[in-house]
Amino acid sequence: MVWKREEPLRPTSVPVNPVQAPSYPPVLSGGFDQPQGEQRPMNEELASIGKSIVINGELSGSEDLTIEGQVEGKIELRDHVLTVGSNGRIKAQVSAKAIVVFGQVTGNLTASEKVDIKENGSVDGDIVAPRVAIADGSHFRGSIDMQRKEQSSSKQPSSVERTLGAFSKPEPKPSVPPATSVTNDLIRV
């Protein structure tokens, strides 16, 4: 007797129009460094806010979210990833585990893991996150703080820092430049 594995049912519907498919890979809350093979099951749907949706107010949730529409107010996805799609327009204070920006954000971003501004992405606001990636061709205006608060408050100087501290108060040079000397590739004036 020959055993034959049952063929799974193949979908007969028309394939997804490539124009409608997102032009960027979704980043899941498993992390940015998740290996390609460890994708989520296909049947787990990703929450998204479509292009024509406009939300004013507070948005919170406990799953990853992609925004292609407009949101004004506040967004909080404490342990999850927020992706602002290329059509997304956000004017909000955003807090999430990770934030990926393909579109436009005006407002402060706080991430416990990482903020990633992709090419053509735009952020006007302050970023607080331990890791920040900013692609060439993106726009950013604001400040970036990558220090964890608990580290900065209880920070003990390392040996390197202690040694470098010796340079914190060198003798200032006089206004009149000293005699010129030539080094390998530089001329000291």
Partner: protein
């Protein structure tokens, strides 16, 4: 401690928190580097910068330092300054502002714009990276910017600027990528302004009157790398 001892000790210290590099010089001040995997850096010159090393050491020595970068945002610089030097970075791209004013034919209003450009409080910043922006500023704008920088700097705060030796009609700016503590990679990009203003040493000293000249290097290209420090107020 004399300057040579200081430099020698500094480079040793810098190497303790930098990744190891072996960079032969090509004889023109350029340093030959192996491109990092995946990085399109082949045609971009890399130069050594001793003042950058001193600048970074001074910033590194300050707890929870805040730094203002007057150049365009560069992801690798942000990662370097934020993760390795451990400072908070304020990105204030004056080159973009300059281009916008030039395109609108409003360069004469740039000094006024600069006077209100920065929202940072007085004496709130530990370091300012000016790059070569002063080469593109008319005297009134340069004076306005220098005033703002001096206002923002904390006592003992430092400022690093590059000042060209000759004017140029090239419509391009330079992006300075921090390769490591002692090397900068240059990448050019189109601009609406030219490098029209050459500041003499006395002009620079006059512009930054009130700050101490901490270090000054003249490269063979004629570019002066100058590090100023704000004295402690008495």
């Amino acid at each position: 401690m004399n300057d040579r001892q200081n430099n020698g000790r500094l480079s040793g210290l810098v190497s303790r928190f930098s990744r190891p590099v072996a960079r032969p010089d090509d004889g023109n001040g350029r340093v030959v580097v192996e491109p990092r995997p995946g990085a399109a850096v082949a045609a971009e010159p890399v130069y050594s910068s001793k003042t950058l090393a001193k600048f970074l050491s001074l910033v590194f020595a300050r707890p929870a330092a805040e730094l203002v970068d007057l150049g365009p945002v560069i992801g690798t610089n942000i990662a370097f300054l934020g993760e390795r030097i451990g400072c908070k970075i304020h990105v204030e791209d004056l080159y973009a502002d300059l281009d916008r004013h030039a395109q609108e034919g409003a360069l004469d209003r740039f000094p006024e714009f600069l006077a209100g450009r920065f929202a940072l409080r007085d004496r709130s910043v530990d370091a300012v990276l000016c790059w070569d922006v002063f080469d593109y500023l008319a005297p009134a704008a340069a004076s306005a910017l220098a005033g703002e920088v001096k206002r923002m700097l904390r006592p003992e705060g430092v400022l690093l600027g590059f000042f060209g030796a000759r004017a140029s009609d090239d419509t391009r700016y330079t992006k300075y990528f921090i390769e490591d503590e002692t090397h900068l990679r240059h990448r050019f990009y189109p601009s609406a302004c030219t490098r029209r203003w050459v500041l003499q040493n006395r002009d620079i000293n006059h512009l930054f009157a009130g700050l101490e000249l901490f270090d000054s290097l003249l490269l063979k290209s004629g570019v002066r790398e100058i590090l100023f420090r704000k004295p402690i107020m008495r």
